[in-house]
Amino acid sequence: MSDGVVIPQSPVGVQQPEADRIVRRPSVLLLLLREPSACVALMTVVTILLAALFAPWLAPGDPYGGDLALTLQPPGELALLGTDGQGRDMITRLLYGLRTTLMIGFAAVFIGCGIGAVIGFAAAYYSRLSGLLMRLMDVLLSFPAILFGLAIAAIFGPGLTAVIIALSIATVPLMARVVRGAAIVVMQQDYIEGARALGMSDRRLILKHLLPNCLSAIFVFVTLRFGQVILLGAALSFIGLGAQPPTAELGAMAADGRNFLFFAPHVSVLPSLLIFIIVLAFNVLGDALRDALDPKLNK
């Protein structure tokens, strides 16, 4: 059966109309850059990440020590974005706050969505486990994230670890539900049965067939959840369960500024604006990435 096999290569000078028609699919990055909004989001995200990464080098001042003689300075020549209630430079605080906030967001989404995805796939693939796992998820789902924060802060003491653990736990059941729902739809497709008929391992079936076809649902949820987690983390810091002073964290900073909202709005508004930009950029990027990864939407 292996005779007469000719692989279409392009010998010099030979016209090969078939080979000419092979159009290489553009890379994911290229597809992303075609969309203007995705382009902007990507640049914003990269800038935010770089800023957070190099905060100690970029920051003009000390995030913890301030000049108490120069509190609540409005943005101006003394400090480009002003100073906060304890005379600390806002730019420095924002850069360090960005680090903490992003760390909370990434850690909680990574841990929570990771565990949630495993549970979701297990519940969809092994139908025998489904009842037990999903009822467990329902139990978790019935507690608000703030309550988890309270309970875990009571055990470990308030701080970043408590926030990350609480938000991870709150993310697990949501992720598990999203993944299970998407996976169950995919499981009914013939190609899953075909994969079974081939006798492939469960591992290969889940990783090669189930997961890639659930990706769009997962992407939408993860990016959406990233924004929510940052907001929730900010809320936990706001009520004093999260980042403890003097740690810079965007939510805590927004909370600090609420007493001076009328005469020094920049103390609250700037960190809030930054949170807004982060959440928006990640959401737009996530949507664009989902489209770029879907072969059906590639033109």
Binding site: D190, A197, G199, K208
Partner: protein, 360 residues
């Protein structure tokens, strides 16, 4: 065609129906496949025909052990596969492949055609990367697609082309048995013929054995050597193609034959198509399962279950009156045409004649 490649013996698949949220009570069983036996000889095509819900697809999946049978034995090449271990089954799966009905959901949209066709080889460790690449291109040519199609994704193809990709995937590991689960039902008629011819050519070339599932007898006539007709989870008639089409002995087979569309109106018969729906397999009728819809049903049919018995050479039917069922002739020329249809034809002839005189 000497020894059976696949043999089913009294295979059953029962689904318990449960009620209750916490304490589940069994309230009944759906008898999806209820005592099916047949032999599939090496190199032949056995078609399994029946209306939707009769258990033909379930039978196919049972034969491949994609679902576990409740009871009965399934022998592949003489080996009972109902008790085969996972490892044994894995090895056997290389030998038996499946082609699906729906060309849209049977190909993973996230994989390129090359990945799809090469996957059975990857799973069964056949060849290395380069030889698999060559094989994919060879297979594409075999199913009348072009090698440059290998880098594309399934959504870039039409239904017929996708079905060809599915066939190429099934053939990539050189199987002996191919289960075709209504491979042409989702395609339009012109494409159906292409795919059927392709399947026939491939069978001739590679000595494949087909278990061909279909809901109509028309397509089957072209591909099969033998035909089994299923009704409500049981085989009601099984025979070689010629005797089944020329001399159907079960009233249900006759009804199925009569239901096949006939393009020539002058050859349409007045045989009434079956009324009613397929009875629920949850609570099948007593006696002969077909008696509720059978035009010839008698008292005995209500109480006594007919056995699938030999009524001719290689021809078995499950009807008490298999010998006395009136002969079926769907092509009784002229006579038997519905009076309404006759009126219409006369009207048309008159109209034509009037047009002819007017223009002359």
């Amino acid at each position: 065609m000497t020894k059976p490649l696949l043999e089913l013996e009294d295979v059953r698949k029962l689904y318990p129906v449960k009620k209750g949220l916490i304490v589940q009570k069994e309230v009944g069983t759906v008898r999806a496949v209820d005592g099916v036996s047949f032999q599939l000889m090496s190199g032949e095509t056995l078609a399994v025909v029946g209306e939707s819900g009769c258990g033909k697809s379930t039978t196919a999946r049972l034969a491949m052990r994609l679902i576990e049978s409740t009871s009965g034995t399934i022998r592949y090449d003489g080996q009972d596969i109902t008790k085969a271990t996972r490892q044994d089954m894995r090895r056997l799966r290389r030998d038996m492949q499946i082609i699906f009905q729906d060309p849209y959901s049977s190909l993973n949209p996230r994989m390129t055609v090359e990945e799809i066709i090469a996957e059975p080889m990857v799973v069964h460790n056949v060849g290395d990367r380069a030889s698999r690449r060559d094989r994919v291109r060879e297979l594409l040519r075999l199913v009348d697609l072009a090698p440059y199609h290998a880098d594309r994704y399934p959504h870039e193809f039409s239904g017929g082309q996708r079905q060809r990709i599915g066939i190429a995937r099934a053939l990539s590991v050189s199987p002996r048995l191919v289960v075709c689960d209504e491979p042409v039902s989702a395609l339009d008629v012109s494409i159906q013929a292409q795919i059927v011819n392709l399947l026939k050519d491939l069978q001739k070339e590679f000595g494949l054995t087909y278990l061909f599932i279909s809901h109509g007898l028309a397509v089957v006539k072209h591909v099969s050597d033998r035909v089994a007709v299923m009704y409500l989870g049981q085989i009601v008639e099984i025979a070689d193609k010629k005797s089944l089409y020329d001399n159907p002995r079960h009233p249900y087979t006759q009804a199925l034959l009569a239901a096949a569309p006939e393009p020539d109106p002058s050859r349409r018969t007045a045989m009434k198509s079956l009324g009613g729906d397929l009875p629920s397999p949850l609570n099948p009728p007593s006696g002969c399962r077909f008696h509720t819809r059978c035009p010839l049903a008698q008292e005995r049919c209500r109480s006594e279950v007919p056995a699938l018995r030999e009524i001719g050479v290689g021809h078995r039917a499950a009807c008490h009156f298999a010998e006395s069922v009136p002969a079926f002739d769907r092509f009784r020329n002229g006579e038997g045409i519905h009076p309404r249809l006759q009126e219409r034809l006369a009207l048309y002839a008159r109209h034509k004649a009037a047009l002819a005189t007017a223009s002359a």
